[in-house]
Each structure stands twice: as structure tokens, then as C-alpha cells.
Symmetry: C2
């Protein structure tokens, strides 16, 4: 295990008055109904084990997406769901395919479970081209919209990928889907090789509650459950189950906040464009931006001095980009003002 | 992964008016300070990721046990801590040693991670004899007190085991230690090969909050952290971290409830002895009992009809035993009355 290179999450600094736009958290709080559900749950019941099957939550998600409970798997954040997916569903002996620029936890899981990886370069516009995935593989995974680019794929491209790879599990990691993408959930009934993973950390404002889930054919879900039941009987605590149910069920809060974020994103994109930034069209709650005259690491440093943190990846192809979370209207404004100062200095 | 035989946790039935003595939960609720801490935490902060290092909780545990933070690892229940321990610390290619009668999740982890297992029979009194562990191994693990027997080992026996196996990691799973055993924590500074695992599910009444931890040499903790950071950056949610800190810090509630349980256990043991049961002396919050004239599965069935559930294991050597959690005074009384009826029928 000494050869493992762990995933490094975005910084969670313990500084007040910070404008934190580095880990794609939601600027709005969770639904008040979540807080109410947690309050009700926090009683004597904590002495008892939580439901090992998280039945209430599974049913809640199934109702929301019009699926059967046997098509739903829940876990302690979508990272845990992803870890079990890598161990349970990707074939060993054949390479797993994913983009060269994507969620950087994927290669870490490959190392953890001894899975061979083959990265497929994004095209010159930083887009996934599904035609590049027609090669022998033991599975395919990418986020849609992709991270950290924010670029979204159309459903027909995903469907083509599923048709061309009938013997592989294709995982669409939809952490950011609610900010403008089209979910592949509707393809589940036609493609038994499709697994869709979502999280409550972004569009449901519950990064701190650690709940994620997967949806797919009942056979895939059985495979995940077999690994989960060999790892931890009770991955979700009682409070997380209750809070998550309330979050899934409060459609009003969800719709209101996600629309606000989409509006802010488009406004911010226009303002940054006016400052000379190039921006990849985003379907996520972040923007991936670059400036032809200003070094990205330098910009991040200048923002940091002004108490604004954004995400910078010192990696090939993207070392001149910054990933900026869509914050509140005030946070967006502060960001634009700061970048204006820096760029015009 | 199709060959996995998952662990089967004790039943969590959704029936009211049940006397539930089957999964060693605490009859008392958690500290009121835990509920208060959770209430305070349940605010806007849930939109942010929880602290990936659970620093507050690590420091809380370090203070409690007078260890350094680098000697503490926390996880989503002690089952997750155990899973990471199996993957990170047991050497492959050599068998892991554990008792034939013990926590039945151990062989499941071995299968999950491809670790060879060798079971060492308990002696005729259902006790662990550490002299039987002097053979080539890639690690040793057992609970102290052992489950489901409740039998506790003295510290000098554990120290002998550590001395005889300096090249193996020896894991003492202390889920039930606070009900009368002597923790091996004091040996950590002398034995770099010792890992002690504890949980908040039993003596802290927080089975529903899912928090467990490991203590040992900083190098062992580093190994666990490397696997954890390759699996899930944020295994503990914000609420679990806060609640767990409050539970560790409220010594008054802890001392009061654990002493009540010890008193109830001794009283219950005497009453069951009077009914003709043989009882293994227990240092845990359960009793492991057998009756020379009554079949154990039959007794469990009769209790079930009376709305009392206890744990029965249909396994070699222990298929005439029942494991009974120490409940409230009223639950203990109802159990004794029911067994009296059944035995005298």
C-alpha cells in the first residue's frame, strides 16, 4: 500500500471572512426541511444502529427518478459510491478508460484496487469525444458535465457510447448534472451496462452530510451491494438518511437554488469575458477560465491575497486555467471586482 | 466479486413494542450534550464539506487517551476502520490469525481483500489462549472482550502476544472494552505493532451516528490514512464529528451509563444462573448463555413469540448458545420473566 498516491481534496481552510470558491460547494444553505428532519431524528434513536439498507432514502430517490428501489444504491458520499464501483464493476485485466482531464480521484481508485487505466485525451476544445472510446476496455467512466471543465455531453453521445460498449460498464458521474445538463437516468431502462452516480453535495447543498447514490440495472446494484455489505453494514448514519430524504423531497428549494446558480453563472461568465477571459461553456456550478495575458497560478495567488480562494491545478494542458465555484451574488461581485483590479493593474 | 459472502448484521426489525437485545446497542440514549452539539452544528455549515481530517475529533480522542493526534485515526464506524486496517496493514502472502469464534466480519474482509485467513480455536472454556498464536502470520486480530463470548483477556497476555509477534500488526478490537475490560491503549507507546480499535456505538450510545477510531503508532496511522485518502476524503459528516466530540468529552454521562450496564449485567447473570443457564463470565454489554436442557434455537424462537429478540448463531461449537444484550432494567426483567416461563413450561 506504500505506493498509493492519495487524492488531495480542495483546501478547507479554517479562516473567517474568506470567499471560498475552490470546492464547488453550494452558496445556499440546504432546505429548511432538511434541518427540521435532522432535528426530529436527533433523539434517543441514535443509540440504535441506522438502517443498513437506508430503505427510506432508497425509496425517496426511486420515487424522485421513477425507478425501482432495486435500481438504487446509496453511500457515504459519491466518493464512497465511486470507490465501490471501481472495486465491484470494472473488469480487471482490461484498461478502464477515462479522459486525461477529469476528476482526479479516478486514477487514485485505480491504484487502490489494481485496475489498469488508459486516459483518452479531450479534444482541442476540452470536450469528450465518445468516438475515441471505441477500443477494448474493462469499463468507462467520466463526469457529465465533466470536471473541472464544466463541459456537458448530449444524451445521444452517451447513448452511442453505451451501444458501442455493450460488454463494459459505463459510469456517468453526474455530480453537477442539476446545473444545466441532461441526466442519463432515462437511458437506464434500455442499457443494462449504464450506471449513473449522483451526489447531494452540490445541487442539494449537503456536502457536509456525505450522501451520494448510484442508479442502474438491478444486477449492477447487486454487485455494489455485495461489496458494500463486505465493507461496512451501516455506511449512512441515521441523521444523514433523514436529512437526505428531506432534501430529495423538497423540490421547491431545489429548483429555486439551482436556478439562482445557473443565472449567476451566466452573469459571471459574461462579466469575466468582458475582462478578457476565455471561458469554457459550463453546465456546472463552476467556471473553468483562462486569460491570454495573465498566468493562472499568478491570478490565483493575487486572489488569495484578497481572501478569495479558487482552484488551480498544476497539471499538463490545464495549468493556465482556474476553476471557480459560483458563489452568492455578493461573492461573484467581489470576485469580479478583484479580477478587474488584478487584470488592469 | 461474485464470490463474496457479505457480512449479515443483526436484524433491525421495524416492529414497535419489541424488546431488542440482539445487536448490543446501549439501552441508554447518548449524552444530552451530543444532542445539543448536533443541534448547534445543523445550520448553514452543512453546505460546506466536512473537515477531511476530522481534526476536532482526533484531538478530542487524543486528549481523552493522552495520545498524540498522529496516533489517532477516525472512520465511519469501526467497521470502516476495520476494513481499511485489513487492506492497509495485514501482509499478503501470510495468513492472518483470528479465533474460530469471533466477530464474523473478519473472514468477510479477508475475502474482500484477498487475505488468507487461519482460524485459531478458542480453548475448551471459550477463551483465547495467546500461546496458540506463536506461528508464522501476516497479522493477528481479535476483539477484547471477545464477541460473542464476552470473555476478556488480561493485559499481560496481550503484551506476551505483542512480544512474540514483533513483525506482525496485532489489532485489538475493543468495541466492548468500556464494560469491564482493560484497554491495551497503555501498551501503544511500547509496541509499534499494536493497533487498538474502538467504537462510539456501544459505550457512547451512538450506533446510529457511525463513528469508530483506531489508535497506534504514527506509522500505522499513516498507513490507514493513505488508504482512507484513496477511498473517501470525507468519511465523517459534520454532524457526526460534532456529536462524537461531545460524546468523548462528557465523562459523567459515560461513567454513569456504563456502570449501570455493568450492574445490570451482573444481576442478570445471577438471575439466569438461577434458571439453570451456564454463563461465560462477561466483560461486555451482553451475555453468552447456554442451557443444558433447552435447545438454544428453540429458546430464541420462544422469546421471539414474546416480542424479545436475541442473537442466535447457527455455527459450529456455539449453536447451543444465545447472545443477549444488556437492556434497561425493565427489559432485563421482562427477559428473565419470559425465560422463567419458557424453561419451567
Amino acid at each position: 500500500m506504500h505506493q498509493l498516491t492519495p487524492y488531495v481534496p480542495g483546501e478547507q481552510p479554517k479562516i473567517s471572512n474568506l470567499i471560498k470558491l475552490n470546492t464547488n460547494e453550494n452558496p445556499f444553505g440546504p432546505s429548511p426541511k432538511v434541518l427540521n428532519a435532522i432535528e426530529i431524528e436527533t433523539g434517543n434513536s441514535l443509540r440504535l444502529y441506522s438502517d443498513p439498507t437506508s430503505e427510506r432514502l432508497v425509496k425517496s430517490i426511486a420515487r424522485y427518478y421513477q425507478l425501482k428501489p432495486q435500481q438504487i444504491f446509496v453511500g457515504n458520499g459519491s466518493d464512497e459510491v465511486l470507490a465501490h464501483t471501481f472495486q465491484a464493476l470494472f473488469q480487471h485485466g482490461k484498461p478502464l478508460l477515462f479522459p486525461d482531464i477529469t476528476y482526479s480521484f479516478y486514477p487514485v481508485y485505480c491504484k487502490l484496487y489494481g485496475i489498469e487505466a488508459e486516459t483518452i485525451p479531450l479534444n482541442e476544445n476540452f470536450e469528450i469525444d465518445v468516438n475515441h472510446y471505441n477500443r477494448p476496455n474493462g469499463g468507462i467512466i467520466f463526469p457529465n458535465p465533466n470536471a473541472p471543465t464544466g463541459h456537458g455531453l448530449e444524451l445521444d453521445a452517451i447513448e452511442a457510447l453505451l451501444k458501442n460498449n455493450p460488454d463494459s460498464v459505463v459510469v456517468i458521474d453526474e455530480a453537477y448534472i442539476d446545473f444545466g445538463g441532461t441526466s442519463a437516468v432515462v437511458l437506464i431502462e434500455h442499457y443494462p451496462n449504464l450506471l449513473v452516480i449522483q451526489t447531494l453535495s452540490k445541487s442539494r447543498s449537503l456536502a457536509g452530510l456525505r450522501v451520494g447514490f448510484a442508479m442502474g440495472n438491478a444486477e449492477l446494484i447487486k454487485g455494489l451491494t455485495r461489496v458494500k455489505d463486505s465493507f461496512n453494514s451501516y455506511p449512512l448514519d441515521t441523521i444523514a438518511i433523514s436529512g437526505a430524504c428531506a432534501a430529495i423531497e423538497d423540490k421547491t428549494h431545489f429548483e429555486y437554488t439551482r436556478k439562482q446558480i445557473i443565472t449567476s453563472r451566466e452573469q459571471l461568465a459574461a462579466q469575466l469575458k468582458a475582462l478578457g477571459f476565455n471561458i469554457i461553456p459550463s453546465q456546472a456550478n463552476f467556471l473553468f477560465i483562462t486569460h491570454p495575458q495573465h498566468d493562472a497560478a499568478g491570478l490565483a495567488g493575487h486572489l488569495r491575497v484578497r481572501n478569495i480562494i479558487v482552484r488551480y491545478f498544476n497539471k499538463p494542458r490545464i495549468d493556465q486555467y482556474l476553476r471557480i465555484t459560483i458563489g452568492t451574488a455578493d461573492e461573484c461581485k467581489a470576485l469580479v471586482t478583484a479580477l478587474q483590479d488584478i487584470v488592469n493593474e
